[in-house]
């Protein structure tokens, strides 16, 4: 586990160091996106607001048809848009999608 501090509110989180993008939900409206390299080192930490413009999580175009069948993609879209607050299951689903490369962290104007 690696301890990361949320750039938005300062809350601390334990993240299991899996290579690639990891997402931890921090509060109802934001989370922390962490990039871990192949050796388990944290390389990037971003505060990710779900609702507002700025850094955010989005479905990768052309990958949404590969989303696992048990994930309600329409619901997760609403979660990522900030339209509905995520449940614990939604957060886990977002982490699954991030690990699979179906959802990714994006900087938006």
């Amino acid at each position: 586990m690696v301890l990361v501090t949320c750039p938005i509110c300062g809350k601390r989180h334990d993240v299991s160091p899996s290579p690639g993008w990891n997402f931890v939900l921090c509060d109802v409206d934001h989370g922390v996106t962490v990039f871990v390299d192949g050796r388990g080192n944290v390389r990037e930490v971003h505060g990710t607001k779900l609702a507002e413009r700025g850094a955010r999580l989005r479905f990768v175009p052309g990958m949404d048809d590969l989303a696992p069948t048990w994930i309600d993609v329409d619901r997760i879209r609403l979660v990522l848009d900030g339209t509905i607050p995520p449940s614990e299951e939604d957060e886990a689903a977002v982490r699954v999608l991030l690990r699979l490369g179906i959802v990714r962290y994006e900087e938006v104007e």
Partner: protein
């Protein structure tokens, strides 16, 4: 999840798989390339000879090519479109359609562009294992192998894993302790999150980072000494040494006697002999597995592992309980 797959759906699936294989090969000019050629000459010209051989065998048995002496010729047969295709078949075909679009390239150049070892192909393989059809097939098989009657106090080792798809099925079907084993921490985390997302995570499920062959260490680091069921589902075509896996799993099985049930290995395996599994097998090969073993290979591996076994089903997957 329904537990019985209608035979008709399997036949439709096979027709769709044949179409997904033959169509792109036609477009790539594969049939013109092999027309009237000697088999031995062809194997010099293709990068993946193993794939070529299995592909030719499938095309031959499906009736798309025939042999005259040692030369290959195309028949008049063209892929049939099944009359009504169910949702489950369409859902299953998402991934095979994609991987077979580059089948020619794979057989010609000997490259597997959809190999699951590349992170960008993870989603593809996950989606494949996660298709309703495959999950139904796994569920039906595992039920036939007695998964649902494993009691709460028992231990089930998931030596198959497949990114946690098999673990999810086990967690749904039994309240027994589950030890999910995989060498990749990343995949174990993914599996944990899957179970979490599905509301199936509970305290008696352990995710152990280990090669499945090192099952004894994995089980003991989860705090157990024996297992009552070792699930080996669609795994024998994914590991280097199936005999070692079976032997090692057998060595941790709970001994029977005095009213206690003897532990066993539940084997669920697609076999090349079943025509319905050939398209499926070629698709998984393109994503990194070996071609599904022949039924005789599975028999040979079981015997070489010193196991006794009882066959529980033969189609579309081979199913057996094995014990010491």
């Amino acid at each position: 999840m329904s537990s019985v797959i209608p035979r008709e759906a399997l036949q439709h699936l096979e027709l769709r798989l044949q179409g997904a294989i033959v169509g792109p090969l036609e477009e790539a000019g594969f049939f013109e390339e092999i027309e009237g050629r000697e088999l031995s000459a062809l194997s010099q010209e293709f990068g993946d000879r193993k794939l070529l051989n299995y592909l030719l065998e499938a095309l031959h048995d499906w009736g798309y090519i025939y042999l005259a002496g040692t030369k290959v010729y195309r028949t008049a047969k063209r892929p049939e479109v099944p009359p009504v295709v169910g949702d489950d078949v369409e859902d299953f075909m998402v991934v095979p359609s994609k991987v077979f679009s580059r089948l020619y390239e794979a057989v010609k150049d000997g490259k597997r562009p959809f190999h699951v070892s590349s992170p960008e192909n993870r989603a593809l393989f996950y989606r494949f294992m996660d298709s309703r059809f495959l999950k139904m097939m796994l569920l039906e098989g595992l039920r036939r192998l007695g998964l649902s009657s494993i009691p709460r106090g028992a231990v089930v080792a998931d030596l198959s894993f497949h990114m946690g798809v098999v673990t999810g099925i086990i967690a749904m079907e039994t309240e027994a302790a589950v030890v999910a084993v995989d060498p990749s921490q990343d995949m174990l985390d993914l599996a944990r999150e899957r179970l979490n997302a599905q509301g199936l995570l509970r305290d008696n499920i352990s995710f152990i980072r280990s090669a499945p062959e090192r099952v004894r260490q994995a089980v003991s680091s989860a705090g157990h000494s024996v297992i009552h069921l070792a699930v080996v589902a669609e795994k024998l075509n994914w590991i280097r040494d199936p005999i070692l896996l079976l032997k090692n799993a057998a060595s941790v099985l709970a001994p029977g006697g005095r009213g206690r049930e003897r532990g066993y290995i539940g084997i669920l395996q697609s076999v090349w002999d079943d025509p319905i599994m050939r398209g499926y097998s070629l698709a998984t090969y393109l994503m990194g597995s070996d071609i599904s073993p022949r039924r005789s290979d599975v028999d040979k591996w079981l015997r070489a592992s010193g196991l006794r076994y009882k066959v529980e089903g033969r189609g579309p997957m081979f199913m057996a309980r094995a014990w010491r």
